[in-house]
């Protein structure tokens, strides 16, 4: 018998219970032993739910019960999740979590404790919901140097960008629609300002670099300034705009960024629409690969937590070697990254062309149907620092800048 405790009976927690209930036989067969949820921890009561019988309000019930071998932490937030998870690991219990805030902040530390205690701390559900990405990186793409990960890691903003692309919606109505459908919170900052995606890319950057990458050190720009006119220009170029979270290793240096980017049709992320997420990976031997699926939602996220539970149950007494050093690495400043920039500018292209080409290299004008009094252009590849210096000369005229993926 494998005894499990679930910390938190919210959306994901009740999903974990549902996945185990629905697929119990299958899961037990895969583990090679019967699986049982022994406790659910929550401050609330659920008198009409059978969970009430195994509900506890006291974490001490769980930590002190040696029969509990695996704990699913699905409460969210850093505290008390961190304290609970640390104590579980120290007590020799494996932990599976969907909590990106916890992992981004304390992942290295919790992995070190798990290693020392010969248990496991797994967090597949914290990045990309139901999409298997962390275990493939750790167990499958091990012949490769992974030099780039670029993800659509937030379903809310991807839904909004899809509406803006497909229906020409403006930002405000796309947000309203996302809220009406329950995809966006009433206070949507965590999604639309990119904070959610930023924590996820910090975790991926930590895993591929092997060092602690703090999300505070990653330049993070959301989609709240993207307008219907921006999208019209994107379409005029045969492109779209997506909120991308990316990290890259080049010449021994790590860079990472979260920002809305222009993406051409030939890029596999171009076609990832609605609330779906996807993670594009480049390996030096593998080339391009992509993992696609539901980045959020009760059951897909719970499915990933249960996948971690099964892996932990198959590896009692044996640490799987997932690790990153608590030593901190600061990604290169975004000013150093080279790329092309799309710029929207007030005025007539013919009047500005000569001056702009002196500054930005050979450019072509982009005209979007029905957008008057302005034009767009794409710079040659240049460092962002240099772009910023030159762009400052046009401060009065530049209406928007969007990075090219």
């Amino acid at each position: 018998m494998v005894n499990i405790a679930i910390l938190g009976y919210g959306t994901v927690g009740s999903g974990v219970a549902e996945v185990i209930r629905t697929n119990r036989e299958l899961i037990s067969r895969r583990i090679g032993d019967e699986v049982r949820i022994k406790y659910v921890l929550d401050l609330r009561d659920f008198p009409d739910d059978p969970v009430q019988q195994i509900l506890t309000h006291d974490f001490e019930d769980i930590i002190s019960d040696d029969e509990v071998q695996i704990v699913a932490e699905v409460m969210g937030g850093v505290e008390p999740a961190y304290t609970f998870v640390r104590r579980c690991l120290e007590a020799g219990k494996s932990v599976a979590t969907s909590n990106k805030a916890l992992v981004a902040e304390h992942g290295a530390n919790l992995l070190a404790i798990a290693r020392e205690k010969k248990v496991n701390f797994l967090f597949e559900a914290s990045v990309g919901g139901g999409i298997p990405i962390l275990r493939p990186l750790h167990s499958s793409l091990t012949g490769d140097e992974i030099d780039e990960i670029t993800g659509i890691l937030n379903g809310t903003t991807n839904y909004m960008m899809t509406r803006m692309f497909c229906e020409g919606a403006d930002y405000a109505s796309a947000l309203r629609e996302a809220q009406d459908r329950g995809y966006a919170e009433r206070s949507p900052e965590a999604d639309v300002e990119g904070y959610d995606a930023c924590r996820k890319i910090a975790i991926l950057a930590s895993l591929i670099s092997g060092y602690q990458v703090d999300f505070e050190d990653i330049y993070c720009e959301g989609i709240s300034k993207i307008t219907a006119e921006d999208m019209k220009h994107a379409k005029a170029m045969g492109m779209t705009i997506k909120l991308l979270a990316a990290c890259r290793k080049q010449d021994g240096k790590l860079s990472a960024i979260v920002a809305p980017c222009l993406l051409g049709e030939e890029h596999p992320l171009f076609h990832v629409n609605g609330v779906f997420n996807a993670v594009f990976v480049h390996g030096n031997m593998l080339g391009d690969a992509m993992f696609y699926g539901s980045g959020a939602g009760k059951l897909p996220t719970a499915s990933a937590v249960v996948g971690d539970i099964v892996e932990e149950a198959r590896n009692f007494g044996r640490n799987l070697g997932v690790t990153w050093s608590p030593e901190k690495i600061t990604p290169e400043s975004k000013e150093c990254a080279s790329r092309r920039f799309f710029v929207r500018m007030r005025g007539e292209f013919s009047e500005w062309k000569e001056r702009l080409e002196k500054d930005f290299g050979r450019i072509d004008a982009v005209k979007a149907d029905g957008v008057l009094g302005e034009f767009g252009f794409i710079t040659e590849e240049m460092q962002e620092g240099l772009y910023g210096q030159i762009a400052s000369k046009y401060e009065q005229e530049i209406l928007a800048m969007i990075r090219m993926a």
Copy 2:
């Protein structure tokens, strides 16, 4: 020191050597021990290649050397690969292979020997080349009942269908182009008739059902009858045609098929173009997911073999539990599967409409630009057996039938 032998120094074999040479340090760190290629087996000599120093023409050198712990079988074909792999496993060596013919025919048996000997037999590269799909199924999607796998599993045919879609090429010129680029063999039957994809879906069907599914029992139809006119009709419907290999579990029954299918733009496989492969997976909790990447090619395939080698090196003395029973299961006849069918028919829709609607249910005509003297329509959902019975009445008029995905 982890000592490896490579059986076969063809495209994939030299790729495995290249991946290990290029990423040796990284790979050794991931294993926690230094990795070394001790032997390469090939009948040929390679006097100008450093491999010559570790080359042997005699398999007995490898099987009798206890230092060799892991063998990469990348010769292809069933014999002598099967004999060599069996002997390696029996001698307590783990094996990684890219050989789909071997796995489709002897997978269950070789997995059983590996289990008994507490070694591992892994074959990630045999399906989808560089795309991680088998280990994610085995180690990540373990909370789910996987009820559908639909793949674009052959790069050659996907390249050809992409040319036919994007450029209106006919079958013969698409094939010629694929041959000129080295994607298709001079004798292209294995690809264009679907035999390659069929072996791969047989492996996937065996893994998700847990039983032996013989590829001979899977209905297999290639793309060699697909015409430019078929593709014009597909485009007129906003769809495309892809060679799909699919298996499905429903009500405890397994079905499997390889056939060209019509696919709408909303399906994630629609956008998988050129030589890329992708595997679409549906789980009862996860919902839709997709894995995308290079399905063939020297380095991507070798990358998957090396990923298996790393996994085996991390698990000496411990079988990972990948298994399917040698007990055979025969997929349901394709006659029992229900779907919609697209039909091209000689004549005028208005003249046939009434009779067709009596037979096939409510239908709409599809007219493709520049295709004269015929029309297309889509039936309502029906079993293929019933479709065939009715269609036989129109034998003189029906020009083509393509299944809807």
